[in-house]
């Protein structure tokens, strides 16, 4: 269980995290979604005591992280798999964690097996590791204390498709056994396939929050046609609002209409417009919102 309430962090005049509130529940994977620079990592660092918040509170399992007597056994965090001493071997890094947490030495071997690092690989120094191998080592260090809560920042970075699938199954399994998983990503698809609950952050603020089912639920209808003019006239006449949703191919347009598919079909029929496609806009609202956020960020960084 993770509870974040009214978390705010300012750097001089800049608001990095602005009144962020959310919870991550046991037995569920919570996806923390936002474009790069939205405040995901800062929020996660505050959660584990690496950064001091300007105001607000964050608790894990009902305690402030810094009040946990041996946090590695209860909450483990993987913020950046590359943040390891490059001169240590993978096995040595795992051994340091095992010793600090006071775990039996056998756990090191178990974890290396679990994440699929061979003895040769674990004997090599981390500077020679690929990003994928670093992520695996990071997961091993995160799981070695069998913690209830897992916090991971962009865990899929650097993994190949097989590795992403593996990571997804692993986190799913952890949640299914009653654990709490909070993971961040800047990719909507990644969050969509794994998360039960989604928290969307942009410019330091929470812009949407809820179960995946709620957030992706019917937000209108997507309709495709070559005859935009007559269809738009028909929609306007019926007082139905809509937004343009891109051009699937030359000559055709997609509209997202704020009405159910049946009404849109009937209006198209009355306007004598042939449709190329008509379907509920599952998640289109979320995607649009997310694209808006991303576009904002890109404009800002370009300016």
């Amino acid at each position: 269980m993770i509870t974040v309430e009214g978390l705010t962090k300012t750097y001089g005049p800049t608001l990095a995290v602005d009144d962020v509130t959310f919870t991550a529940s046991p037995g569920r994977v919570t996806g923390f979604l936002g474009p790069n620079g939205a405040g995901k990592s800062t929020s996660m660092r505050i959660l584990v005591g690496l950064t001091r918040p300007t105001s607000g509170t964050a608790t894990v399992l009902g305690h402030r992280f810094t009040d946990l007597p041996n946090p590695g056994l209860e909450v483990r965090v993987l913020l950046d798999a590359s943040a390891q001493h490059a001169g240590r071997t993978g096995r040595e890094i795992l051994t340091l964690s095992q010793q600090m947490m006071g775990l039996p030495p056998g756990r090191v071997e178990e974890m290396l097996d679990l994440v699929g690092l061979t003895p040769t690989e674990s004997g090599r120094r981390v500077r020679e590791y690929s990003l994928g191998m670093r992520q695996r080592l990071g997961v091993a260090t995160a799981l070695i204390g069998a913690p209830e809560v897992l916090i991971l920042d962009e865990p899929a970075n650097g993994l190949d498709p097989g590795g992403i699938r593996w990571m997804r199954d692993l986190l799913r399994g952890h949640a299914d056994r009653g654990g709490t998983v909070l993971l961040s990503s800047h990719l909507l698809h990644e969050i969509e396939v794994i998360a039960d609950d989604i928290v969307v952050i942009g410019h330091g603020r929470i812009v949407a929050r809820g179960t995946k089912a709620d957030l992706l639920a019917g937000t209108g209808t997507l309709v495709q046609t070559r005859n935009r003019g007559p269809l738009v006239a028909g929609l306007d006449a019926a007082g139905v609002t809509f937004t343009d949703h891109g051009t699937p191919y030359a000559g055709a347009v997609t509209l997202r209409v704020d009405a159910d598919p049946e009404l849109v079909g009937r209006l198209a029929h009355q306007a004598d417009v042939a449709l190329l496609g008509l379907r509920p806009a599952d998640g289109a609202g979320l995607e649009e919102m997310f694209l808006d956020l991303t576009a904002d960020t890109q404009r800002e960084s370009a300016a």
């Binding site: 992280f65 483990r76 097996d113």
Partner: protein
């Protein structure tokens, strides 16, 4: 491109513990032991410590080969051995702190033990332990050198260091080590801290001595403001009451206060 062995698709891992009651707090002894291990488990760390042993053997050899026969006394050997040690030990202390930032391993360290002062305490105890062990190795090396050297040159073996003198040297080296530790805490950058230590230990003494030679007013003041003068006295041993007072003043101003400022800043800093 590196190829990765296909990961196991089964998860025989222990399920998350839904526990009652909380685990025991990590004891300081464990933090110290892990920090000690961290000073040794990289090539850089290993060779840095090995170089103390190597340098003490080389220094002993150099004394036997080049020192005039009338100087074949134990203190000549310990002085020669002590010099490289006074450079290397502070480096060990600096790197033990700054590596958490330069190598970014602090992300792991400070989330496993979210109390940075406890980690710093563990590091301090670990580096002092390394210093004491190094000296326990170095003094016998010097003693062996003294016996061999005097035998080769056919002069009587002179033991001119007592237990008190040895303790003075241990204290002096520990103080220098803590100066390195302080610089690591204050600057949190390996390069900056190493440069600062070299300035402190080698450049500043020369400049201040030069100033003292040319400015009478400073000559009297120097032992009170220049930590190197009071620390040098410690290495020579037999401190007077005034010298102890001078050492206390310079240690307070150049070690305790900056260390306190550094610890306060480090505890509040952001670990990225």
């Amino acid at each position: 491109m590196s190829t990765i062995a296909p990961p196991h698709q089964t998860f025989p891992t222990t399920p998350p513990r839904l526990r009652h009651g909380s685990p025991a707090r990590i004891p300081l002894s464990r933090i110290t032991r892990v920090e000690l291990r961290k000073s040794l488990d990289t090539r850089a760390g290993f060779w840095l410590l090995a170089s103390i042993g190597i340098a003490s053997v080389l220094a002993t050899g150099a004394v036997i080969a080049f020192a005039p026969t009338d100087q074949f006394t134990y203190s000549t050997f310990t002085l020669a051995i002590g010099f490289p040690m006074s450079v290397i030990l502070p480096m060990v202390a600096i790197l033990s702190v700054t590596a958490e930032w330069s190598q970014r391993s602090g992300l792991t360290t400070f989330t496993l033990v979210p109390h940075r002062t406890r980690i710093l305490l563990g590091k301090a105890v670990a580096t002092v332990t390394i210093a004491v062990v190094s000296m326990l190795v170095a003094f016998p090396v010097g003693a062996v050198g003294n016996v061999i050297g005097s035998a080769i040159h056919g002069v009587p073996t002179v033991w001119d260091l007592g237990v008190v003198d040895v303790l003075y040297m241990v204290a002096g080296n520990t103080l220098l080590l803590m100066v390195g530790f302080m610089l690591g805490v204050l600057l949190r950058s390996s390069t900056a801290a190493l440069v600062a230590y070299l300035l402190y230990a080698f450049v500043a003494p020369t400049l201040l001595t030069f100033l003292a030679i040319n400015q009478a007013w400073f000559a009297d003041l120097q032992p009170w403001v220049d930590p190197n003068v009071s620390q040098d006295a410690l290495f020579r041993g037999g401190l007077s009451g005034e010298q102890w007072a001078q050492l206390a003043v310079t240690t307070l101003v150049w070690l305790v206060v900056p260390l306190a400022v550094g610890v306060r800043a480090l505890v509040r800093s952001e670990v990225k």
